[in-house]
Symmetry: C2
Subunit: 88 residues, 2 copies
DNA sequence: TTTATATTTAGACAGTTAACTAAATATCGT
DNA sequence: ACGATATTTAGTTAACTGTCTAAATATAAA
């Protein structure tokens, strides 16, 4: 699947966008990310897997926790595709 | 469904992005849009309906044809959401 | 007004997604 | 090594998506 397709699919879910927004303020572990979301931790884990597959987040283990970090690199390509429309 | 969700969903399909790209060069009717796409006209029509629902295109009748026009207005909101990530 | 052309709508089907519960895995502290 | 905590994986289910074929609708042309 092409990179922009993966990115747009990942962004097409409000829960995932919300998780990304919270990661902007700093890294969070899975439990913290699940707090306040109206779904089970298993479902949150599923969304995290999709964001990771899309390359929008990275993960590292820190003791008992898995800490997630925003990786905006991949945003660029999707963003540039969109910019092309408004330009010229 | 929220506006950015609809927009991202619409953009999450390569066929739809391709159709939007072709509309950048000027208006096209459904038949023209279907040319070269590896699917039936019925399927193309279905994609057009999704793009219209998302507010990314407009349609008007011109004789026998339905002519589609790009409407980039709605791009702005999704784009701004994305820009927020790279900014600051 | 009958026939052809353009396009959509309806119905079916396979594959994907988002959610759940329950079970598995990994690390930590004792 | 054991029990607690953190998180994922597995399996299920309902809803959604992308595609098809066939039928319906709308306009144009003869």
């Amino acid at each position: 699947m092409s990179l922009p397709t993966l990115t747009f699919k990942a962004l097409a879910d409000p829960t995932r966008r919300q998780m990304l927004e919270r990661l902007r303020s700093g890294d969070l572990n899975a439990g913290e990310l699940a707090e306040g979301l109206p779904m089970t931790k298993a479902s949150v884990s599923h969304h995290l897997a999709m964001l990771k597959q899309a390359g929008l987040i990275r993960v590292r283990r820190q003791g008992q926790n898995l800490v997630y970090t925003l990786d905006a690199t991949v945003f660029q390509e999707a963003l540039q595709w969109m910019m092309g429309f408004l330009k010229d």
